[in-house]
Subunit: 179 residues, 4 copies
């Protein structure tokens, strides 16, 4: 490859104006500080009917879905911002993955996981589940899973106000750049 | 309640004419043999745009989704037929759960889990993940998770041909009836 | 059986004078309030060399181990108090289980899980792992996993000082009695 | 460091003459073929009373345990051979980890996981649990978890007879060398 492809930061929910989106934008700023280019892929941009028009027999037939897919195909590294929904990852994030071709989309690529929740757990179980999926798909995942618990209290005016959270995200950003 | 509500058998994918659907119908026959009524809720009947029109700010606003939801509300016991997709449960199944009101939909109810896969693992990891979700939601889940590995070889002409699979499903059916 | 066997509360570590032991004693008081008898099985009482003298070829040969085992054999319901060690359950707790005969020790019995940790997570991942084990062993486990995070701040003078923790333990105690 | 430290292959059980030991020796041959030095750390060499004399207040005080520990301290990369015991990893393996100092023993190091079982699952759930632990400890773990199901049928005369198993182990060996 003649150039390093940008890191793709995936907003792991299709909720409009999600907290995950704002965390993704914060993460992008961290990467800029390390002179690393990135793009944000927000699942809010999924076609509304993708669970029918882009899966199973219709795999590959939805142009809007394919456009999102092309961002995955062109990238080597990913940051997944994953809010906790019902004790695991959002179903929509997994349905998006279920619509991507297996096994080439993520195999031999690299991922970093960030969880967020309003409760005390920071989506820790969701990140465990997602790591199992990435293991299945052959994508190496950083050991450091950053868990942003009680996110509303620690993310104000688009800034992380909790010093530990800030430090962990900075460490993880450096790790994924060098991974 | 003046009568026992039927057990709801959930086909855990929206794939048309799925193997999971056929296993659900087989399970229903087992329940009939034990004089237990059931209904099948097939996620193929989800509205195509439910991940947008039935979640988040639109929760409760999609009548077709609400119709499926009413089957959950009226039931006390569930059989989940869960195919393995990408090393976990189908995203669509979780997105369906994400569209249901928390915490009343499943709290203090009871579930039995059946996994199926074309590989050797019978969705064993998917069932572990799903059990975490049901724990979060407060639904007691039978210890006996039936794992139907290599389902194509063991389910022919709508019958389970593997005697062990047959026995495990019968044991589980009896357990969920008495649970 | 002519009488209901006491619930066994298992202290899931062999650490001397453990916090888990104190939580077990607190739990026993809750059960007494509900007129339910219980015994405490503290893993501190494991023979020091049990990982050699009570496992594999030596299974059943260690009398001190067998004495603990007999408490398991005679019980139908269990409370497991599980501290978080290195992001999962204590190895000693699992080694104890590995020394018990399979599959009769826990099959068709019932368990409730309590996690504790000094961090914010309350051993939530440890409880998920342990539920997988109990599913494998055929023991039904209550959906309600009580997670006592930052236990040092919420357990003072042998009393739970956090009202939510107190309420959750009381709810769980009632559930395991009726389970 | 002036030289690359050998990879440590950990036999994840203290069972004498274990199948895991034999798989470890097979793995060592694979590494030799790639001109990579390794040592085998077999948990059968744990002091019999290590769960008391090397944990908690006695951490660091057992010389025989410390000798095993020094192999961990000096290494950067590990292969874990993990048999399935009761639906998860062996308790003894976790108790060994519980006796190592946190967080320096594994932080920023690298691991590959191999599971084995007599059943069809190849310790897949055990490997998921162990990956959670290594994530907690800050050790990056290869996505490729090799699962050697029904090991007795596929490992004869100290050779892997299943071509797929052989290929997966070779791929993993190359990956951990380059990781």
């Amino acid at each position: 490859m003649s150039a390093i492809s940008p890191i793709v930061i995936i907003v792991g929910t299709n909720r409009p104006n999600s907290m995950s989106r704002r965390v993704a934008e914060y993460y992008q700023k961290l990467l800029i500080q390390s002179n690393t280019s990135s793009t944000i892929l927000d699942l809010v941009d999924l076609p509304h009917d993708f669970t029918v028009t882009a899966l199973y027999g219709n795999s590959g037939k939805n142009e809007a879905f394919n456009s999102l897919k092309s961002h995955i195909d062109g990238a080597e590294k990913f940051i997944f911002i994953i809010p906790e929904y019902n004790g695991s990852y959002p179903g929509v994030l997994k349905a998006f993955i279920d619509g991507l071709p297996y096994p080439n989309s993520f195999t031999n690529k690299k991922a970093a996981l960030v969880g967020l929740s309003s409760n005390m757990h920071g989506a820790i179980v969701a990140l465990s589940h997602m790591n199992d999926i990435f293991s299945y798909l052959g994508m190496n995942t950083l050991a450091l899973r950053v868990k942003l618990a009680q996110i509303q209290s620690h993310f104000v005016d688009n800034e992380i106000t909790n010093p530990l959270y800030k430090e962990l995200l900075e460490i993880q950003a450096e790790q994924i750049i060098r991974f």
